[in-house]
């Protein structure tokens, strides 16, 4: 690994972390604004025009808050849990290819994708979501609070249950693309069918499981206010709470970006047609790559809007309904989806 390579990776890491922070700040604001709009309220409108600086004010307040660790809590693990949660959430951003090659240094092309050659791509995403369970479970256990413990347990059980269907929903895409590398998967969709048209069932399965994996309504049992106060972050305050909250929003954006990659063609701008001929730009030219990057972010944020919209429209599931949906409905459907996809591919070959 050359020095240029290392510097580029560090710069990419800096850009991605800052992008995540800005996106999370404005997703929190968007969530509050959209919630207000759906409930016929005004929403935050004091800090800056339309409340644009609300999230920054909130972050500064979180920094100067007293950091309370309950006497009964296990201090080490109580502090470790938010670090795991945010560490995992940040790491996912290294896997997602946000754009095609933008610049060329020493004969190597770099874009806003940190690990473009990683051949296990999507498997690493699944691995990261699995590690994410530790953050939530540790946060719940270490607080030594009954609400936190129940929230952490529920969340862990829910995340691992829905991860099965998520893994199976991805296999449908892998069958068509024939690769685990996310860039290969995007290339397979470029200028042709996006996988949402070939895998509609897979897309819906992935959307539902992504809602459950990020603990969002209607699957937000881990923090069901009427039963569990705040769930696993009941005993968190100050920036530790802030980090858990940030990790949640970072995960929402990450899963939206992964959905955009797997099912909505990644940085492909127009479905069914060749982008470069329609727009009159050379393939892999800089304007086309930048437009593609914009298209990618547009798709990801449209999905983030869907997440928010669903949260403020649907009531919460009961816990047994949640487990039944995951194990008895989604799991068989995803297995059948794989078999049908396989048969159709072989039949058409």
């Amino acid at each position: 690994m050359s020095l240029t390579n290392l510097i580029v990776i560090l710069v990419q890491a800096g850009i991605l972390v800052n992008m995540m922070l800005m996106a999370a700040a404005y997703m929190v604001l968007a969530e509050r604004k959209i919630a207000a709009w759906i409930q016929n309220r005004v929403g935050p409108n004091r800090v800056g025009p339309w409340g644009l600086f609300q999230s920054f004010a909130d972050v500064f307040k979180l920094y100067i808050k007293e950091d309370i660790v309950p006497a009964a809590a296990d201090y080490k693990f109580h502090a470790l849990a938010p670090v795991i949660a945010i560490g995992v959430a940040v790491t996912t951003y290294a896997i997602i290819p946000f754009s095609g090659p933008l610049i060329e240094l020493d004969g190597v092309k770099y874009g806003l994708a940190m690990a473009p050659n990683m051949n296990i791509g999507i498997l690493a995403v699944l691995a990261m979501t699995s590690v994410g369970v530790y953050g939530v479970a540790l946060a719940g256990w270490s607080s030594n609070n009954k609400y936190s413990l129940m929230g952490g347990l529920r969340s862990a059980a829910q995340m691992i249950s829905y991860e099965l269907s998520m893994g199976l929903a991805i296999i449908g895409v892998v069958l068509i693309a024939g690769s685990l590398n996310l860039i290969d998967i995007i290339q397979a969709q470029t200028d042709g069918m996006w996988f949402i048209f070939l895998q509609p069932v897979g897309f819906i399965l992935f959307l539902i499981t992504a809602l459950a994996e990020t603990n969002r309504a209607p699957f937000d049992l881990p923090e069901a206010e009427p039963e569990l106060v705040g769930g696993y972050h009941t005993e968190y305050s100050g920036m530790k709470f802030g980090l858990l909250y940030l990790a949640e929003y970072a995960n929402i954006l990450a899963s939206s970006a992964i959905m955009a990659t797997l099912f909505l063609g990644g940085w492909d701008i127009i479905p069914f047609l060749d982008d470069s001929t329609v727009l009159g730009l050379a393939p892999f030219s800089l304007p086309l790559v930048i437009l593609g990057h914009m298209a990618f972010l547009g798709k990801a944020f449209a999905l983030v809007f869907v997440f928010i919209w669903i949260r403020w429209s649907l009531p919460r599931f009961r816990y047994d309904q949640l487990m039944n949906l995951g194990w008895k409905v989604l799991l068989p459907i995803s297995l059948v989806n794989i078999i049908v996809t396989g048969l159709v591919i072989l039949f058409l070959q």
């Binding site: 007293e66 940040v90 862990a156």
Partner: protein
Amino acid sequence: MILDYMPLIIMIVVGLIFGVSNIVLAENLGPKRSTRAKLSTYESGMEPVKTARERFTVKFYLVAMMFILFDIEIVFMYPWAVQFRELGYYGLSAMVLFMVLLFSGYLYVIKKGALKWD
């Protein structure tokens, strides 16, 4: 080969540094005016009854065990999915057989009531 994974490792380190530095910063910036009541466990304003280190329902363990079984089997499917076109009908029929075995175990678990939450 291992170099392709370097960005991931670097990003893990960046994420951990981000988390730790934020926590250290926040712990030192905020005021420290702790009282006994403030440090007690939150239980909706009541005096806490016992601790949370109690026994909880065994079903969470069952779910975790089933997850491990199924997840391992799903990981087996990934190499097959990548090599799917080369393996053709033979690979598909083998995988369907595998899924039937998996599914019969799944039906057994359901019939045993491992997922009854009441």
